[in-house]
Amino acid sequence: MVSANPPVIEVKDLKKHFPVKKGLLRRTVGQVYAVDGVTFTVGAGETLGLVGESGCGKTTAGRAAMRLVEPTSGSIKVEGKEIMGLSKGELRPYRRQMQIIFQDPFSSLNPRMTAGDIVGEPLLVHGVANAKERQEQVSALFARVGLRPAQMSNYPHQFSGGQRQRIGIARALALGPKLIVGDEPVSALDVSIQAQVINLLMELQAERRLSYLFISHNLAVVEHISHQIAVMYLGRIVEYADTRSIFTNAQHPYTEALLAAVPVPDPAIKRKKIVLQGDVPSPVKPPSGCHFHTRCPYAVARCKVEAPPLREIAPGHQVSCHLR
């Protein structure tokens, strides 16, 4: 992908297949092709939005890129260094570069630790500060994400959902990472709180030149925060372009359908209605050829047999469709 900034993470042909085991002997009877060959790059200080409906593999792609789930194959380069094949110990310094914010602000914080301990834990694990420095850094992080440092001794249940997500952000920031993977970081929050958290994330990006891999099914949120967008369908990226191109010049039929489903706050506007037929096929038995052909309104015979490669149809705009 064309990007002015040096890449922080380059993921190439990343695959994650989960074995399906059955029977007494737990034999592998099939694979779930959760992520099936995904390639993307996030530049320094940039946000890549990863969108798609639930079950399309976007969350797994984000985790596999961090090696939080072990990818089946592929290449992951963090600031030019390959991290696939590194042992757990060798991976540790790279953990400081990549952090994650979770969707659920309730289960992502240990209920038996104080907020201050949660945010300070990364510093403790990496041994980067003594107790007093840690206290100061955590206090600064609290202030930065909009919490009162006096709340450090409170437990997670004493915070609201938005506040808890701020604790999660502070924890992710503690080690000064280059890349933060946001796995639906605002989906569980009220709309008004969503805006606050998104704004906080954008401020932090400007301030610290952070890169985000922002995973979401909410196109409005993604449009607001992303520089680039990758649209995923059944484990593959079907369209990858800068945000403007996606929203004004979507090329893939699936992207079109997704955009048509976004509500517009004006009843006077007439929109093209595209309603996809059927459900997302099972990732255990993905359709032959183009994964989308079973639901595509424009599908032709070729789509059934041949999988379209991701091609560049305009500078920086890649689409995986035979018809474009």
């Binding site: 939080l68 991976l91 952090q99 994650i100 979770f102 992502s108 209920p111 834990e121 694990v125 506040q163």
Partner: protein, 297 residues
């Protein structure tokens, strides 16, 4: 963002007061039954610790003239058929019950936690193998297991503790394993992994503390059943050897012969066991609530 001042609200409710006594006062108002339990357990522990000060007679010295003496006078709670003072024997019996209950519960608990945590967190073949072993152990009743253990180890205080502790292991391991299984999939465990924490450290710091609440309830229940199992073992001659006073043996050896003629021989040890078990259960319930930070405010 609305800032809710929990500290002020708490201070008003009296939770943040400093000092042991004011804290104890707050907890007593909040958990009156727990306070009753705490007092019973405290009494039990103090009795055990200061048995030599409290007991008016030597619990082992016999007196043929006082055989089966009724309560009152020299023998507050009567005397058994060998003329030994019941009150003194019950007071000294607290020592043995305390040692057995605490020793067996701790030993069984620690073994169970280690096994359950490893089994649940590592999973795979280790889990399968340990769980089948636990199945086998649990298929035998607690007392039968303890009997076999005690019979092969021989009667002594240490062996009684071991014999009671081992059969307690499977239930602790089960409880810890099942919470571990759900906890290891929690995002906060994944977050710990994402910051580069080692697996053992994750298990100890993030998983173990979250399994404690049910363990405390289980542990206090086991304190009671350890006391009861010790009683049964001693009755069968496999527990605490004669002539040392064990509540269980005092109760069971008098039950058949003297319950009609000298009921105090049965009633008082029974009351001692009941009060202690009752106290540990009440305290356990309150502790579970107090130790859970979610219930604290």
């Amino acid at each position: 963002m609305a800032v809710i001042d929990h500290d002020a609200a708490l201070a008003k409710a009296g939770a943040n007061v400093s000092g042991f006594w004011s804290q104890a006062g707050f907890l007593t108002r909040r958990y009156p039954l727990g306070a009753v339990g705490a007092i019973l357990v405290l009494l039990f522990v103090l009795t055990a610790l200061f048995a030599n000060v409290i007991a008016p007679h030597d619990p082992l010295s016999t007196n043929s003239r006082a055989s089966l003496a009724a309560p009152g006078g020299t023998y507050w709670l009567g005397a058994d058929f060998m003329g030994r003072d019941m009150f003194s024997r019950i007071v000294y019996g607290a020592r043995i019950s305390l040692a057995v209950a605490v020793g067996a519960t701790l030993l069984g608990g620690i073994l169970g936690v280690v096994i359950g945590l490893m089994s649940g967190f590592i999973g795979g073949w280790l889990d399968l193998a340990t769980q089948r072993l636990m199945d086998i152990m649990q298929s035998l009743p607690l007392l039968v297991m303890a009997l076999v253990m005690a019979a092969s180890l021989g009667p002594s205080l240490e062996n009684t503790i071991i014999a009671i502790a081992i059969p307690l292991v499977p239930s602790v391991a089960r409880v810890v394993r099942s919470s571990t299984l759900s906890l290891r999939e929690q995002p906060f465990v994944e977050a710990a992994r994402a910051i580069g924490m080692g697996e053992i450290r994750i298990a100890v710091r993030h998983v173990l503390p979250n399994t404690l609440a049910p363990l405390i309830v289980l542990g206090t229940a086991q304190l009671g059943s350890a006391i009861l199992t010790e009683a049964s073992l001693s009755f069968l001659g496999l527990g605490i050897p004669e002539p040392y006073p064990s509540w269980g043996r005092m109760l069971s050896e008098s039950a058949a012969e003297y319950v009609r003629t000298a009921p105090w021989l049965v009633i008082f040890p029974g009351v001692a066991i009941s009060l202690t078990v009752f106290g540990t259960n009440l305290l356990g319930d309150a502790l579970r609530d107090i130790l859970d930070p979610r219930q604290r405010t």
